[in-house]
């Protein structure tokens, strides 16, 4: 989130040529996205897995904002970012509710315990 705020700050102050090149921001977003995928695939704690998904969503947000800044502060991209934040909130609500239901039944948040459905 901090990164996404930084991406729009120079533009918000009306600086025509932002000091950080767009390609750097896109690269940072790509790194965050890959980090999210890595966390999703490797980590065993369900909360961390969930956080990795949030990281991926924010990487998309950062990409939207950087691309919108590149295109003369195109409102389209900025509105998309707001849509994404809303959707991420919905997902977080449902996801955390599921995690609580899971913890009540199994008293653990380890991914490896989800093995009842196999065949």
């Amino acid at each position: 989130m901090i990164a996404s705020i930084l991406a729009v700050l120079p533009a918000a102050e009306g600086i025509p040529n932002p000091s950080i090149p767009t390609s750097w921001v896109l690269l940072l977003a790509a790194l965050l996205f890959i980090l999210g995928i890595y966390g999703f695939l490797v980590r065993r704690d369900l909360i961390v897995v969930f956080m990795s998904i949030e990281l991926m969503l924010n990487a998309a947000n950062l990409t939207f904002l950087a691309a919108a800044r590149e295109r003369m502060l195109d409102p389209e991209g900025q509105v998309y970012a707001i849509f994404v934040i809303t959707v991420a909130a919905v997902e977080a609500a449902v996801g955390l509710a599921l995690l609580i239901a899971w913890f009540r039944l199994r008293a653990t948040l380890d991914v490896e315990t989800a093995v009842e459905l196999e065949g």
């Binding site: 896109l26 977003a29 996205f33 999210g36 999703f40 369900l46 897995v49 969930f50 998904i53 991926m56 969503l57 990487a59 998309a60 947000n61 990409t63 939207f64 950087a66 691309a67 590149e70 295109r71 195109d74 389209e76 991209g77 998309y80 849509f83 994404v84 959707v87 919905v90 997902e91 449902v94 996801g95 509710a97 599921l98 995690l99 239901a101 899971w102 039944l105 199994r106 989800a114 009842e116 459905l117 196999e118 065949g119």
Partner: protein, 499 residues
């Protein structure tokens, strides 16, 4: 900018308006009702809302078909034009999805009543959210709108899957579905973001107006984004090798919800694959026949060794996604738009037939499912032909239709899909598809053998299904036969589809 909605806009959004207002109404009324009043008021109200939306969809279809009475102008206002597709395509999608939701609602009423604390309001509100999300996804001309639709129906499904939250299998299925679904959604979103970064817009280009050569191929960031988006959609359509979640989630979810997932999600995902076809970079298009072949092989091989019927149908769903992809090759790789339109019609026909058939199959399973979920194996349907001829006949028809045996609708669906692929020059994929269907015969016929040629176990109590459930099963069984004997009943209405 003019932000007013015109009457055409409202006409275009009518199914969505009915469903959204209905979902809010159901939640509100639920608050003011006593426990026993809920079971009497809410299910009929939900049926009424879904029937209303279905009627609105049919009305849209009729007024959009050429040669019929038209509204003074069927052009959308300035607000909706860039984001909404007011076409026969969308109307067909709305009809399909409202029909699926209605059938699931009818299948699930008796199941819901058997719960310890039936949560009518929540269940029915979420059930109404499902067609809202999928219709948004189908009608969207903009990827962000499609994403919002995708999330609306996915979130509803996550909750519905884990609805019985004291049961460990349901919660496990819900959690797995949520984690993998949210992962796919994040990938979808990052793909869209890259497309936006590359092209500066998230509009979905029209399919029919331009052939593949007429449109510049996506390059750079947009191509990368298109590729990523493509993976996320295959995940939602449960195409192998992105199908890992399917068997577990299908098995753990309540059976009516499995029916909703297997029919509705696949329908929505393939509609979006069709409308987004021009966003995919040309480099990855040759992958589609390969993925189709892999899905057919993995699905059929997986289904061969299953004894749990829900898992068997899950793997069969993977194989069916493969057959659908065989026709999709004609859209993605075919040369003129003649090929593409034949393939679109074949896919829509297949989705409709697959929806009806799977609803029949899962409807029977939901009927047989006792509270402890012990009858969903081959063991549980042994000798059903004598114990309950009606259930057995519907399940047998569904199995025959899934296998693609001639007097059923499934035969024509497979025929059209393979014919579309062959006429577009996709011989290899079509041949593998036909061979795969032959392998599939084995496990579908195993169902028939268990139904009719094996002795029934000693204790044989079949729970009552309730009127609505029996009606749904009867209707879907009849539809399988009717569309099998008179395929033109379902082919002709799809002729006007243009994109």
């Amino acid at each position: 900018m003019d932000f007013r909605l015109t009457t055409t806009d409202l006409h275009a959004l009518l199914p969505l308006v009915i469903l959204s207002a209905g979902a809010c109404l159901v939640l509100l009324i639920d608050l003011f009702l006593r426990e026993e009043a809920r079971s009497r008021v809410l299910p009929p109200l939900t049926s009424l809302i879904l029937l209303g939306a279905l009627g609105a969809g049919i009305e849209q279809y009729i007024s959009l078909s050429p040669g019929s009475f038209r509204f003074p102008s069927e052009r959308l206002g300035p607000l909706l034009t860039p984001i909404w597709r007011h076409q026969v395509f969308t109307a067909v999608g709305a009809i399909l999805l409202c029909g699926i939701a209605l059938a699931v609602h009818w299948i699930s009423t008796s199941w819901l009543r058997e719960e310890d604390r039936p949560a009518y309001g929540e269940y029915q509100c979420l059930l109404l959210l499902f067609p809202i999300g999928t219709i948004l996804l189908i009608g969207a001309r903009n990827l962000m709108l499609a994403f919002v639709g995708l999330e609306i129906f996915s979130v509803a499904l996550y909750v519905l899957t884990a609805m019985r939250r004291t049961r460990s299998r349901a919660v496990e299925a819900g959690l797995k579905y949520f984690l993998l679904g949210a992962f796919a959604a994040a990938i979808f979103l990052y793909g869209s973001a890259l497309i936006y970064a590359g092209k500066g817009t998230l509009d979905l280009p029209d399919l029919g107006a331009i052939s593949r050569e007429g449109l510049p191929a996506p390059v750079g960031l947009a191509a990368l984004g298109g590729g990523i988006l493509f993976l996320a959609l295959f995940f939602k359509a449960s195409v192998a090798p992105f199908h890992m979640w399917t068997p577990d989630v299908y098995q753990g979810a309540p059976t009516p919800i499995t029916a909703l997932m297997s029919t509705g999600t696949k329908t929505a995902a393939f509609f979006l694959l069709i409308t987004a076809a021009r966003l995919f970079p040309h480099e990855i298009l040759p992958l589609i026949p390969i993925l189709a072949i892999v899905s057919i092989l993995v699905g059929n091989a997986g289904a061969l060794r299953q004894t749990d019927l829900k898992r068997l149908l899950a793997y069969s769903g993977v194989a069916h996604a493969g057959y659908l992809l065989v026709a999709y090759c004609a859209i993605a790789l075919g040369q003129g738009h003649q090929d593409a339109h034949t393939a679109i019609r074949a896919i829509l026909y297949y989705l409709a037939v697959y929806g009806i058939t799977n609803l029949a199959a899962f409807g029977v399973l939901a009927w047989l499912e006792r509270r402890e979920e012990s009858v969903l194996t081959f063991e549980g349907i042994r000798g059903l032909g004598r114990r309950n001829p009606f259930c057995a006949a519907v399940l047998a028809l569904a199995a025959l239709s899934l296998a693609g045996i001639p007097p059923t609708a499934g035969f024509w669906a497979k025929y059209q899909v393979f014919a579309a692929a062959l006429s577009a020059g996709q011989t290899t994929a079509a041949v593998v598809g036909i061979l795969g269907s032959v392998v599939g015969l084995y496990y579908y016929l195993r169902i028939l053998v268990a139904l009719y040629f094996e002795p029934a176990p000693e204790e044989a109590r079949i729970p009552a299904a309730g009127f609505a459930g029996a009606l749904t099963l009867g209707l879907s069984g009849a539809a399988i036969l009717l569309f099998g004997i008179f395929p033109s009943l379902l082919v002709d209405p799809l002729i006007h589809i243009r994109l």
